[in-house]
Structures are given as C-alpha cells and as structure tokens.
Symmetry: C2
Subunit: 199 residues, 2 copies
C-alpha cells in the first residue's frame, strides 16, 4: 500500500513531537520544571519558540506529554513481561530504569515539584499513585491471595512498593557509585515474599 | 545573673533568624526552591529584601540554614528517645513528620530539585544520605548484629529505610486521605524485623 503525502507528513509530525518530548525530558532533568523554558527546549531541537508552540502551545501541555510518554514506556516494559511473576515485572522495570537516568531524573524533579501549591502536575501524580497502588494490589492479590508470604495485604504491599521505587531513585541519582538501585529493590522484594528455603 | 544589652540583642537576632528560616521553609513548600524569592520571604516576616539580606546575604545561604534547621529538629527528636529500640525511634520520627506537612513538603521539593545539574543543595543531600545510611547501619548493627530478623544486613536495611521514608512522604503529601504514612512505615518495619509470635 502506497502511503499518501498526508500520511508521511503525519509521521514526520509524530517524529518531531517525540523528538520535542525527548528534549523536554532532558531540559527538565537538567534544570527542574520551573527552570525549564520553551526556548531551551526549542533550541535543543533546532526550532524557534514559535515553531515549538505549533506542536505544544504551552509549557504545561508539554509537561503533560512528557508524563504521558513516561507512562507509555512503563506500560510497554510491563507488557513485554506480561506473564511473569508480578514482583519480577517490577524488578525488571527498576533494572530498566537504572539504564535511563535522564528519565528517572526528570520524574524525580517533577514529582518533587508537584507537591507545591497549584502545580500543573499535581492531579496527574495524585491519580497516578492511586492507579499504581490499585493496579499493584490487584496484581499481587491475583498471585498471592489476600496475604503476601511476608505477611502484608496486597494493598499495603503496593503502597510500600511504590515508595521504595521512588525513594531509591533519589539516593541512586545523587550517588550512583554508592547505591545499587536494582539490588536494593530486590532486597525489598525478598522481604515482601521471602524466597522459599530449598528442601 | 543580669543579662547585658548585647546578650538581649543577640537573642533577638537569633529569634529573628529562626523566624526567617520558618518563613523560608513555608515559601519553599508552597512555590518550590526556584519559585521562592528573598522578597517573598522578607514580606512574610515584615522585612525589606535589604533587611533580610542582613541576616542571610543570598538565597543559597538561606537554603543551607533551612536544611540545617531540619537536621537539628531530627536530631532533637532522636535524642528524646535516645535509648529506645532504633527502629522505634525512626517510627516515632515518621509519626512526628505526619504532624508537620510544611517541613516535609519543603524537604520533598528540595530533595527533588537537588538532582538537577549544579543545584546548591546537591552536595548537602549526597552527604546527608551517606550519613543516614551509615548511622542507620551502625544503630541497627548495635541492636541486631550482622543480620536483621527479616534477613537483611544492617547496611542494606538502612538504605531501604531511608527510601521508604522519602517515598511515603510523596504519596502522603499528594493524598493524605488515602495514605496513612506512619502505619505504612510500621508495615515496613515489621518486614525488617517481624514481631515474634507469642508462645
């Protein structure tokens, strides 16, 4: 099937948007959300500010796109391992995160900033954590029933899982030579569901 | 003993500094570090910007004072319970934090911002976490020896302790009605050192 000129233009527009989202993620990671400007993002992709605003009319619109792109990566990563033990999926996500410090840094900056008053990402993060706690609890219940081997209910384990992931990211970003994020996360998983002793 | 006029002036200066640090903590919590200005802090304590700079010549100097004040509160809180079971001391610190959302909010904003490039609090936080991991591991080793009841070494448990505290703060600040921070933290402590079954 031959593609029309319109479709190719659509692809190019999509590529350009992806490129802008990538640049925005880098700029936020480097300068924080308040320090990030549309001009700085535009420069990084060789556009004028006006050119950039053709794709994303405001800084907040760009922020939403950055956050949604991150979720897509997370979901893609989870889908790759769709049939694995649920805690193993999360462990692999943490290992994957350890290979992309820029994204993790942008996320850490944004979530920290989101607790300030009237921040444009505050509702996004409130809903995201509610979703992560609920979805995590469902997956854990499907695997373990109403109580994990370590003694917690799926709901209580899911809250801690999200907390450990976020907290380890901070320590790892500040001091990657001292903090082995994936190993520390596996320590936590072994507390939630201790591996059975052989024999 | 009668106090001299100079001593009284010194007290007043100390009170004023404490008041400025309190105001700065509030402004950072509300607006983020980059959004906080010396003018906004000065207004809150009824000073001009020039008047404020008499106490803290730069925004970074004020930031350092805010961070140091927070450490002093933490140490005072720990000292109050100096001879308790070490995990109980941390649990009580988390309960205390749940009564002071403003401080916790300022801390969350600052630590998130600190991972951006060249942030003035980056060294402070890197060293703080190294200290927390080391001091935590020492206290845990003194109590439990080389292995906690849940199976981790004191070093690995201390890294997770700090991560859980930070991560729960984010979820609690965003959604205090859904996340019981002290209860979730005690869930984690029960994984580190499961209470013994009676009998």
């Amino acid at each position: 099937m031959t593609r029309t000129r319109g479709e190719r233009r659509g692809d190019r527009r999509g590529d350009r948007k992806a490129e802008i989202i990538q640049a925005a993620t880098e700029v936020i990671a480097e300068r924080g959300y308040r320090g990030a400007t549309l001009v700085a993002v535009a420069e990084r992709v060789g556009l004028t500010q006006q050119g950039l605003m053709h794709y994303f009319p405001t800084k907040d619109a760009l922020l939403v796109a950055v956050l949604e792109a991150r979720d897509q990566w997370d979901m893609a990563s989870a889908a790759l391992h769709g049939r694995a033990w649920p805690l193993e999926v999360v462990a692999e996500l943490v290992e994957y995160n350890a290979t992309r410090p820029g994204i993790v840094q942008a996320f850490t900056v944004l979530v920290g900033d989101s607790v300030t008053e009237g921040h444009p990402a505050q509702d996004y993060f409130r809903e995201r954590y509610a979703r992560v706690r609920e979805g995590g609890a469902d997956a854990l219940r499907a695997e373990y029933g109403d109580r994990l081997p370590g003694g917690l209910t799926p709901e209580r384990a899911a809250t801690l899982l999200a907390a450990v992931m976020d907290g380890l990211q901070v320590q790892w970003l500040l001091d990657p030579g001292s903090v082995d994020m994936p190993a520390a996360f596996r320590d936590f998983l072994a507390l939630l569901a201790p591996p059975r002793e052989p024999g």
